[in-house]
Symmetry: D2
Subunit: 382 residues, 4 copies
């Protein structure tokens, strides 16, 4: 076991694993620390939508970042397959954001106008056109926005592939390793303390999702992150019930390989409870039946849930600690962790290499945006 590296990454979810991959790819010596198993929290629970259009409905840095990140996936999928043999299941069959009622039509069309204005290929389909394209969809649907470029991946495979690709490039992966505290001296990070030992590096990245808060607090940073529990289930059928992702107010349906569909997701704020409830499943089932009546004949596969790391303003924390050189933060990606994982990995690798040119404006994601400016003494006295 190596105890000294160029960079130590805290958190083996999709964000931490992506960072480990991009840094290893640039020749840095990486140690990736995960307190449980790789991807065992939010990352493996995700449906894997790269849903720039479904969830981001206003212009701004998040929208720009999402588009930039989505564009990285085709090459990424090939690179990860080459390095690890793992297929991340990238599928670009578009997304239908359906209007279930007359009242929804206006809202969906507003989003459509925004997408078009931003230069995305998106179009309105009438109820009849929707059913021509997806014959299984309920005749109750009033119409839909169709976004041709929308795509999705297998979230557990993506997280696993990042980590395994990092390992193939020389990274050391330590599962079941909890970081207790940070080591630093004279305004520079120097390493971390785990349950068993001290590990040293010039750079440390905190990417622990919902569990990032306490570690950052030790460094004087107030980055409030809270969990939003999401329950999902999946069904199987021999033939494909739908071709595109179907997105509505009550649920979304993501068609995976081999006739599988993932149905998600409930949103329960501030719950660390990872039990799937009868109420949650029941709500999703009813919503899915309303949109896709034929789903009743599909086979039940399984149910699961995950905790997405949410922030007060809905934006992730991305950046270097203002006072502790070498300590980077990349967390709070909420429901966009899968989508934003490549751009996040790339950005952190850029910072570590001190690359100055940055196309994206990152001011909105500053790690110290939620705090009363701590004096340097405060940080140092921790």
């Amino acid at each position: 076991m190596v105890r000294k590296a160029d960079v130590i990454i805290v958190g083996g979810g999709v964000i931490g694993s992506s960072i480990a991959y991009y840094m290893s790819a640039r020749g840095m010596k990486v140690i990736l620390l995960e307190r449980d198993r790789l991807g065992s929290q939010a990352s493996n629970a995700a449906a894997g939508m790269l849903a720039v259009q479904a969830e981001i409905t206003e212009a701004g840095p998040m929208y720009d970042m999402a588009r930039a990140s989505r564009a990285l996936f085709p090459q990424l999928a090939m690179d990860l397959k080459e390095l690890t043999g793992i297929d991340i299941g990238l599928k670009r069959k578009g997304m239908l954001r359906v209007a279930a009622t007359e009242a929804d039509v206006g809202e969906v069309q507003r989003i459509l106008d925004f997408q078009k204005k931003e230069g995305e290929r998106a179009e309105w389909l009438s109820a009849k056109q929707v059913r021509q394209q997806e014959p299984g969809i309920s005749s109750e649907i009033q119409g839909a926005m169709f976004v041709e470029e929308d795509s999705h991946v297998d979230a557990p495979e993506l997280c696993y592939a990042y980590a395994k690709a990092a390992a193939a490039l020389g990274a050391q992966i330590n599962e079941f390793t909890e970081v207790k505290s940070l080591l630093y001296t004279q305004g520079r990070i120097t390493g971390v303390v785990t349950g068993e030992e001290e590990l040293f590096a010039d750079q440390v990245v905190v990417a622990s999702g919902t569990w990032s808060g306490p570690l950052l607090a030790q460094a004087g940073l107030t980055c409030p992150i809270y969990p939003v529990k999401g329950e999902c289930f999946s069904v199987l059928s021999h033939s494909q019930l739908i071709q595109s992702t179907i997105f509505s107010d009550g649920c979304y349906l993501v068609p995976k390989k081999g006739g599988r569909i993932v149905v998600g997701a409930t949103m329960i704020e501030h719950s660390y409870d990872r039990r799937v409830t009868i109420g949650g499943i029941s709500k999703l089932l009813e919503a899915a039946k309303r949109i896709l009546p034929d789903i009743v004949d599909a086979e039940w596969e399984q149910a699961w849930c995950g905790l997405r790391p949410q922030t007060m303003d809905g934006l992730p924390y991305l950046g270097e600690h203002p006072k502790l050189k070498g300590l980077y933060v990349a967390t709070g990606h909420y429901r966009k962790g899968i989508l934003l994982s490549p751009i996040t990995g790339k950005l952190v690798a850029d910072w570590a290499e001190d690359k100055s040119e940055q196309v994206l404006s990152l001011a909105s994601f500053r790690v110290d945006r939620h705090q009363n400016d701590p004096s340097e003494e405060e940080v140092m006295s921790l």
Copy 2:
């Protein structure tokens, strides 16, 4: 591996395993053959209700047999625990057959009158009394019949315990062994042919549930048996949501150990398809929520299904082949296999010992009741 025994039992479900146990307990040398794993079909899928009162609503030989069998469970539970260490989870906390609507009240009260006439302890509870006894039950319920003696067991444990008790008493258990045909000569059974070898015994018992037909047909017996698929799911909670079994038209809820509840069951006739469908789960979920609204907070555990072996007149086939001495049939128990397993095991053991005195009238269960009398030549020429 022994190839000669006193008796060969074909089918390692709860009926075949019970017979193996009772025969072994009387000193007979038993070989139990199961084509897959013990209990892998209907037996492990059952909710384990010993529901004399819920399902049998008319006097007759089935009712008598059910009551006689239920009475065997307390001693049986102790004997199986002693021999195998397995607790079959016998729990006698009564059963509430609820009337969900005004219209149901009449039907439930008719069943209640029948139970009382037959000397069972059963009583009518008003809506208020129902909720005093089970505070979680919906205020929509109009009343209920309460049967104090109703009990239930853990079905998978029961089947397993029978087989393991038989093994402890010397029986040989061969899983993954399919019987291809019967061996007989001069009007006597002499053994069976499996996929790999011939096995010999003076007595053969066919107890293969839904799969019994073809083997019996080889012996000239027409015993039509068809599958009725049943889907179930289970939930977990730390505290007990209900004390008694709740039985309604749409579903039943059986409270198991440790706060677990089994919710069952759909009825899909003539389906061998063992996939659990979204439609099935959805129906049960809605029915369970109507009766026990608090179930929405319980945790989802799992879903499964089983194929119950049904006959044309709803009665099992129990008895000796009319022309082939030593060939016994014990199958077609439909939803009452768990309940009737002890009496069935005892009866078959009695026959094998030629015990003449029989308290129960078995004429209704004759194995040749569904056929044009085959001549002896027909049987022999097979």
Copy 3:
């Protein structure tokens, strides 16, 4: 549910599923019948080696067929991914057939000479060269034959992808459907009888592996097939312990995606018993440790087993019934079912289309090679 098709395929393993795919791809209407789940027997249990060189050590029709089939995989992998989204994990990193002792060296070199003579790219590596290429291999190894073109796939994914691709092309897949008998009239097949109904087609393919015998016997064909049980286990590690497949006398190690290694396989003839034994695991563990000492640090994943369908002469049965037009047989592929699945699917599709030109000599695989010529009357009188 459709009850009339161009072809009915009996058996949803890798062979039946491949046939379903190739026939569907040519526009035939296919019904695929499987008594349990797709691939639930030998197919999902395989390690997925496309091991022309490891197991076939003599020239002949089997060797020719194996090479022809292996050549189909690269295009097949792309086609299945396109149709189903499923990646079959085709990986071409070569195979090392190691000589563990001085005594083995001669035998391995004999095989090497044969391979070279047949035009395969194969070379001898000294002990030192072996460890340069695969540093984890034990220093006890004396040398190895390296076959650069050797490749492997994920067997469960392959079977699943064939079936799902067939479904995407219009095939109907019926799981949990057991075929009881064949229907024919005047020397032509007309359909099959399942547990629940009659299904009709002009062509029927029997591809039921170990379970094919009884159905073929009904048609007067003696095609003895017996099971050879094989146990396997798998391990996980973050970094790749080996790059190529390692093949020795005691076991083989196949490096799968994400650092997984499959270790196989025991060979227990005439056993239908699907339980994994302590003895089997123990033998494989010891053999794997001898070849790859570092495997002790890898993580235990799981153990499983499958039943491979073997024939008396080690060759599959491939061809049309000599008397019953339209009844095809494709079974008995033993340990080569994965490798031979594409060529088998293609051949059967050719026959069904009456394509006369056949590059391969199939006389050795005739379905009636093991029987006294049955008269047409015998077949018809069944």
Copy 4:
């Protein structure tokens, strides 16, 4: 959700759950907090031996406590069954501590002498007597100590039953709830802070096993606890291969219900890594085969591991905080958590009720035995 109770217990393993049960049984209002699932760490991984004689080979407070605790099990088993329906699988079939070599004979006989001196029923069996009693044991065994009163339970069932019994008696169980810090004022504990809220109680019990250290450190207590990883596997057979527990230097074999045997356990100090390794399984397999050669025919079930909480002197920490009234510690039970769980639960309930009479001498278990006496100020200033 209740936020105020008489006592808050931190840790839902077998120790915390036992305390929750005994306190609830005395009418206290209990909140049990577990950061993951009940029993998900060491408790569910244990083989369940109540092995007073196997592991404790010297007189002292640990020996006295172990005997006192073992004596509580028969009544406890009945009480838990009554309250929850859960059978904890208490089985008293004795234990054979075998001497595998001549050299071992002396050591085993020394332990035997000690046991006899302390008044335990224990006897020496010659090699021949061992095989008369357990015919499956290897003929290599030189003899054994037989302890008739030795017994065992199903460890996962025990932990679950404690918690469910507590819930049945009114306790509130919060899984997925991590305690971040303690609340106290003026030398008295007042509650805890979880990831989401503050919870209040007059008494707090820390029973978090390997994870207790940081929380206790917050209260100024130095209670070093480190994990000792233990790997196990289990096998199945239809008939019982052994009747008694077999204990040797290399492994132990514990016969569970239904023909199951648990084989344990490796000992890897200071490892938080919960992966089961090939090396660990391999060692246990070899040791088990040496003692019980027939185990090769048994069926592989599964492998798992757990982290046992060990202390510097091998004794648990049991007692009240010297300066913070109402803060109790009960942790560090290492391999004896199952055995000591009832006496621990009873003791903590006694303390909470201020029962002065204590039969056992607890000085050896003092919570402050490993520290330089902290001044009250130090504690308060945290």
